[in-house]
């Protein structure tokens, strides 16, 4: 899921960085004081999740958990993922500093989309598990597509790259679907205020 340095072309890097900077600013501005610790904890979860390797499929893939972050955090998933990716780049040499913007956008944009798509479903207990599964599945799927797009804009053909990337992440999509499903239903039962269910005006 992390694109290494030295692959992407300059326009892709710059536009990815600009989009991430804007979205991060929005995320930080909307960040509610009471939510800061929750965001940090999920950022830490994201940071650690990348170490959990899924030994299935043709490539070497790991958990991403951007769906979970998206569903719970909304706009705040941009700063959370940005910080987590920065630390991953420094500590684990995953991705890199130059590609940080693109990588953040690739993972956080689908998360944000899932937040807006699935919020109405999450409100209703009956659809909650389905919404959780879709959140985990779709966010990894879309992140794979964005990653393939970033690679394609830099050199190779989109369709071929997309096929490889999506196929490689298929096991992760399914696993994350279940993880997100269980986490969301659990949170809704135990601590519904984390999901801000029933709140008309979401502050993030």
């Amino acid at each position: 899921m992390h694109i290494s340095e030295g692959i992407l072309s300059a326009p892709v890097l710059i536009s990815g960085g600009a989009l991430t900077a804007m979205a991060t600013a929005i995320g930080l501005k909307r960040l509610n004081y009471d939510r800061i610790m929750g965001v940090a904890i999920l950022a830490a979860t994201f940071f650690v999740a990348s170490l959990i390797h899924v030994p299935l499929g043709p490539g070497s893939v790991h958990l991403v958990l951007n769906g979970l972050l998206g569903v719970v955090l909304g706009w705040a998933s941009f700063p959370a993922i940005l910080i987590a990716l920065l630390l991953q780049a420094i500590f684990f040499q995953y991705g890199g500093i130059v590609v940080l913007g693109v990588n953040t956008f690739n993972m956080a944009a689908p998360a944000l989309l899932c937040f807006y798509l699935l919020r109405p479903w999450l409100e209703r207990p009956k659809y909650r598990p389905v919404a959780g599964f879709i959140g985990g599945f779709l966010s990894v799927f879309l992140a794979s597509l964005l990653m393939a797009l970033a690679l394609a804009l830099s050199d190779s053909g989109f369709l071929a790259t997309a096929k490889i990337v999506v196929a490689a992440h298929l096991p992760v999509m399914i696993i994350e679907g279940f993880i997100t499903m269980f986490t969301v239903t659990f949170l809704a039962r135990v601590k519904p205020e984390i999901l801000q269910l029933g709140v008309k005006e979401c502050r993030y």
């Binding site: 340095e5 030295g6 692959i7 170490l51 390797h53 070497s60 790259t161 990337v165």
Partner: protein
Amino acid sequence: MSILKKCITLCLLASVFCFLPSVSQAHKVRIFAYAEGNTIIGETAFSGGRAPKGSEIIVQDAASARTLLTSRTDDQGEFRFPIPEEARHGHLDLRIIINVGEGHRGEWLLEAAEYLGDGESESESTSDQLTEVAPASMTTKPISTNEELIRRVVEEAMDKKLSPIKRLLAQSQDKGPSLQDILGGIGYILGLAGIIAYIKSTKGEKK
């Protein structure tokens, strides 16, 4: 209190993940190459130890970034190719790049001195000088060829003996993320959250 509890469970979870050896596999491509006689042998692996099969290997001149040849890894993630003539003549430093696709890429710089061996390039130049001087003193010639032969044999033997050590060195250079890294990262995140909370709280006071 509940936040504190969550933090503790998270840290516990994190440490559990680190202690499961098969679980904490990573996502980076490692590449490493050395010369053995006339061929360059290389090994690649994902940080977790799985081999990238059939991945593209690109050999470039490090100075000009011109591609000299391309190859592919075998099922063990290894590759080998003869030293390109061009590189041998031009004493080019080789940049060997593995491109796995899916945005994963690793590279290794193999310097000319490393694969040519200082001895060989020197002996070439000395033998050139010798051939120029040769008509004057024929007696030195057999000695120099003997010397060259010994040098080559020693070098080959050294290459063979040293290659496992080189391999070991390259592997030890690339350790997976350690517990310190992981806990450090979590600490950074919580610390940053504290800073943001502080900034937000001072702003709130002004209002």
